[in-house]
């Protein structure tokens, strides 16, 4: 199985936040903050976590999410760090 590509992860994250967040981004931007910029409330953040789990098979435990507003770049890096060449996602 091939290593997950950065472009694929970014486009999938963009797709999910467009579906779940009040303010959809036109395109992926690593600096966009989930709460401040995309308008997510706490439940929408959990919905994003559950969707990432279903999509990439990553365990985004609430305890591992920083208290401050995470950026899409942080989410991308989390997914990428969970899936290396030796541990690819089930795509």
């Amino acid at each position: 199985m091939a290593e997950v590509s950065v472009n694929f992860v970014e486009s999938k994250i963009c797709e999910l936040v467009t579906e779940l967040m009040p303010h959809a981004p036109a395109e992926f931007s690593a600096s966009l903050r989930v709460k401040e910029d995309l308008g997510a409330d706490s439940m929408q953040v959990i919905a994003l976590m559950l969707s990432l789990d279903a999509e990439f098979d990553v365990d985004l435990d609430p305890a591992n999410v920083p208290d401050n507003d995470v950026t899409l770049g942080w989410v991308r890096d989390f997914v990428l760090s969970a899936h290396t060449k030796d541990n690819p996602p089930p795509l």
Partner: protein, 448 residues
Amino acid sequence: MTRVMITGAGVISSAGQSLDEFWENCLRGVSLAQDIPEHWLNYYQPRSKVWAPLPTCDYAKLGISRTEQILLSIPALIGLCAAYQATENAGLVTERAGKIAGLRAETRLSVHIGTGLGAAHSPFDNFATHLISGLKPKLLELQETYPDDPLVRDLLAGLKAQPRVNPLVICQTMPNALAANISLRLGVRGAVETSCAACASGTVAIGKAFRSIKTGETDIAIAGGVEHLGDRTGSVFMGFDRLQTLATPYQGLGTENRPFDQNRSGFLFSEGGAAILVLESLDSVVSRGQESQILAEVVGFGQSSDAHSIAAIAEDNNSISGMLEQALKEACVKPADINYINAHGTGTEINDRVETGFIGHTFHHRPLVNSTKSILGHTIGAAGAFEAITTAMSLHHQMVHPSRNIQNPIADLNFPFSAAQADLRVALTHNFGFGGHNAALVLKRYEV
């Protein structure tokens, strides 16, 4: 004294996903029985072979956002869908899934929901992967034996990675989540209550809503019943089957479910459903200019407990008589005033025998008697609310639906065998639940 009106209703059911579709299918006396999922037979050999599954819901079309679909349990979702319909029908919202608005500032709102099992399937479905992760090798062996088994396939698919727990499993499972989600989506800030009285839950919830309006505590109440009994293994089905309460094979698909027939054998297991009503003070209805939306008036409520058995109805009828006495007294009517009884009518041997004995003994003037469960099957905590809606629709349209599959009645009661026009002014609907819970509502045709 404040008069209490039913001004809206919404349903998600095996018989339809709107009030009109549900009512039409009731009048047609359709059969909803289908064979149970084949893979359930891999785990258990039930006596009953049929159930009434819910249709696939297009939640987006019903006003549910993608986020809600991810976060909420199935009973919470179908409860919301029915509540949205009910508030739309009552003219309380201007758009689907919108918050209730435009009322007088002093108007008080409340929510009263009945449920039997809440979202009992949620912890199972959420923790199943977690609990059985150590059994993955055995599951792989099972898959060789049952290569097409969807449960084994799903479980293995869920075991690709380390097991983890949905952070919302508690929020999904708690029975009050059903009422709470309606409250927060519709913006209801008054009393938000959950009634848990098994098969009488929906009736009790509506009764409490009625009383809260009648006593002036609230002006508008969203009330009803929600149940979802589907799970991947059919475990709830098996529990009822093992208790020998479910309808067994008779003369082909659709003939198994036969309340009040001599050859009845139990109830048709329903996957569940949601039935939600809007109850409202007459003053509120008039102030909103929505008198044309009134389906019926609620005039009496009674409840009692058998203090007899956790599962079987008491044969002596004493508690049921007490329940009825309360409801009729509050409604200021006598037994002879009742034109129509929407019976509990489960189709179990003991329920139907006790219920027909009680009706025959109490109502000598042969009111119409039917069983909505003969069509819908048994939705447990939602049943009383479905039957309250059916009763209200019967009064509104002056029609009763047929009681299905009665070939040889067990009692000489006035059962309609087909949909029939009738002069209905006062109607009774009652339910008897596991645990000995009895509850009754008296409804009247609306007259100015």
